[in-house]
Amino acid sequence: MNEEEILIFGPPKKIKEISFGVLSPDNIRKISVKNIVQADTYDDEGYPINGGLMDPKLGVIDPGLKCHTCNSKFGECQGHFGHIELARPVVHVGYAKEVYDILRSTCRECSRVLVPEERILYYEEKLKEDGVRTGMRQTIISELINESAKKKGVLKDNKCPHCGTEQIKIKFEKPTSYKEGDKKLTPADVRERMENISDRETALLGWNPNASRPEWAILTVLPVSPVTVRPSITLESGIRSEDDLTHKLVDIIRINQRLRENLDAGAPQLIVEDLWELLQYHVTTYFDNEVSGVPPARHRSGRVLKTLTQRLKGKEGRFRNNLSGKRVDFSARTVISPDPNISINEVGVPKFIAMELTIPERVTGKNIERLRKLVVSGSDTYPGANYIIRYDGMRKRVTDITRDILAEEIEVGYIVERHLLDGDIVLFNRQPSLHRLSIMAHEVRVMPYRTFRLNLCVCPPYNADFDGDEMNMHVPQTEEAQAEARILMRVQEQIISPRYGEPVIGGSQDYLSGAYLLTKKTTKFAREQVDQMLYVSSINTDLPEPIIIEDGVPYWTGKQLFSLLLPPDLNIAYKSKVCKKCDVCEGKKCRHDCYVLIENGKLISGVIDGSTFKARSTCKLLDKLVKDYDTDVGRKFLDSVTCLVLWSNGILGFSTGIDDEDIPKEGLDVINKVLNEGKEKVDKLIGSYNEGYLEPLPGRSVEETLESKIMQALAEARDKAGSIAERYLGMNRGAVVMAKTGAKGNMLDITQMSASLGQMSVRGNRLHRGYMKRSLSSFIQDDVNADARGFVSSSYKKGLNPKEFFFHAMGGREGLVDTAVRTAQSGYMQRRLMNALQDMSVSYNGTVCTNDGVVAQFIYGEDGIDPAKSTYGKAVDIDWIIHKNLYQNKEAE
């Protein structure tokens, strides 16, 4: 509100409550500025007809004209309602069902509710007591309606308990007519009955007598919406094209006129009824053009008209499209690409976007010089400013011509809309926004070229990759919004997922395999390499003493370098992901170097891999850094470790190739033998089945038993083949390093490449469909052998034979279909869940309740624990606390 408005309307008021009701005829006339009687819009000269549907009193839609009611200009006047006096009342479709409920539960003679006085009292009492809840209120009301409606024609004693009149059953003929027995009730009859219902009893029927009366559901006056709601469009050819609503109103007025003329002339009943029904049709379709049982009103061209209900309803309706979802200013969208050298907190913003999006900054004594400089540099050079705003709200565009004058003009109290600068906070989002982490706050880092740049560690929460993904950016405009975003939404605050209490932001792929190579026992770096690595990962400390000295040249181990990233008081021990899972763990003496031991911030033993800082997994270290130290510590660790690992990867080199899947001849022979043994076992099973020896498993038929035993035997054979292959696959192979460290893939994938693919399946069963009683025409019918049912003994490396290839394609197709179906289903489920839960909140008493105060959970999650602040879903991690205290005590000693 500006000062002028405050002078006219007084200070802004607070809305205490809103009550909804039905518009009364008196009210319709009261808000109306004109009785509309002409079914026309414009005359031949193009002027609006007085008393027509485009009456100048209804508002302005042409720029330059003034409203005849409020005298304001186009854009200022929101329009004014008119009205049509209907010659005969008609039913409002939206209330047809409610009108029916009232008709069937009230007496045809005395209009009282058809339950005895004591029941009325009973219901009144109940409404007062339990009706506080919206849900209960509805139940009580429909209970009463059902009880009273039963009397009509169903019960033997269908007399009104108040006046004794016999009741006749009322039928509702959708959408808008009612029949009492065989006689049709006209809207006028209906209205008369409802007028007689007492206020007390309307309350019982669910109407608030202070706000609305049931007879108002039968229209005697029709409001005519302002022209601003239904503006006519002037086409290029100069022909005016009217809005659908205007067309509908024209129909209503025309029929209304004819009905009135006929009534005045005393026309026969039949004609009047026909016209009356026609009027009902037009009014019905004016409100809703998709009522079942009514042919939709059409445009001359045959197009179905879009009337009031259609404007509001559905995905393209006013609610979902314009109110729940809006187009916004100060936003940008472009393709994303990776940049491992920026912080996880940052987002690289292209310069051309930074020059378009602005942040309003108020001029103060402290920043006036800086802002003046920005204004001087104008809007076409970066960094600059696009607008300045005077105290009185006047906006002035900064252009090449005006920039010097404007820079001179600004003084304390002005607002400068300056370009985005490094360090500004923005919201970054990728659709589908399925969880909280889909929108996070980043710090701006202005960069050349045309894409948003993103640190790779924040890909998992957005579920982003760089195959053409686009993302959106929004710029918070007020200081409050910026502060709030920075404190609550910044990326580093979201490292731990609120869903399962583990990091969602963390290393993946190269970072994990690289960390393994970096911290392997054999890795060592010379002085200049160490200097480079520490420089790129912005580690600013003194070099530790070199551990290895060969020929007088000092070398540093990868473990030493990694230790520089850790807080000096960190003590932790865990097994790394590459752990061989020996029967007896040898602790820090582990010969595979898999026992990670960190003492006083020094990595003593163990290699760093997925179990240290992999995103979306139970990682031991990152998790502790964030929870026990600070999100800042966690962020710095991630920022540094990624740079360090990438650089060391550059030095050490890492690759994978087809020879990673090589297995020596003797190995392949053993694998083949194992697979053949499996097949022989299957043959034996089939043999014993054919001879009838096979014992059925409990609850299964013999055939099912055979099938499950065959599957078992084959799975066993494949697993054996896999583990034999694994024996030959050491950590000197890139593919194995990737699988074991958690960088990409798993050992199953590698054994499929090197040993055998194993059983192909569709819906959990072996392949059996395709031809009659067989999977392919080259097999005999009912052959249940391994080969005939989709067992692939070849490996990807060896290559598949045609039959195997086809089986593989069958299994692969199922996977594709599954993912497609799953996303569609889960999307719809998500929408429904969101709509059901959106108003739930944790209130001050600790309960989770709906917006009307009904409790859903007495403690959030039944334990009141925030997973993001707890460890592994538990309130306290006792082991960890004991561990920490033990170390502290040791120190003290």
Partner: protein
């Protein structure tokens, strides 16, 4: 066939009737009224069984329900008995 006491069935959560004093202190603790509570009908089999066992009418009372199978150990709920 013998009538089964459903209250003893292992799949039926423990239902406890709050005494009038407990009700008051409970409502005070959470600063809510009965109308904010979830409901349970008198026609609910557990309520019927409880009424029979205790030989009192439960309409208008508050029932405490302890559910054992919660990820958090035990879930405690309160319900307001209505018709």
């Amino acid at each position: 066939m013998d009538k089964v006491n459903i209250l003893e069935h292992k799949l039926v959560s423990k239902h406890i009737i709050l005494s009038i004093e407990e009700e008051e202190s409970f409502l005070k603790k959470y600063n809510i009224s009965r109308n904010n509570l979830p409901l349970i009908k008198t026609s609910d089999p557990v309520i019927k069984a409880l009424e029979e066992q205790e030989n009192i009418l439960l309409k208008g009372r508050i029932i405490k329900i302890i559910r054992p199978n919660s990820p958090a150990g035990e879930g405690i709920y309160y319900r307001y008995v209505v018709e």
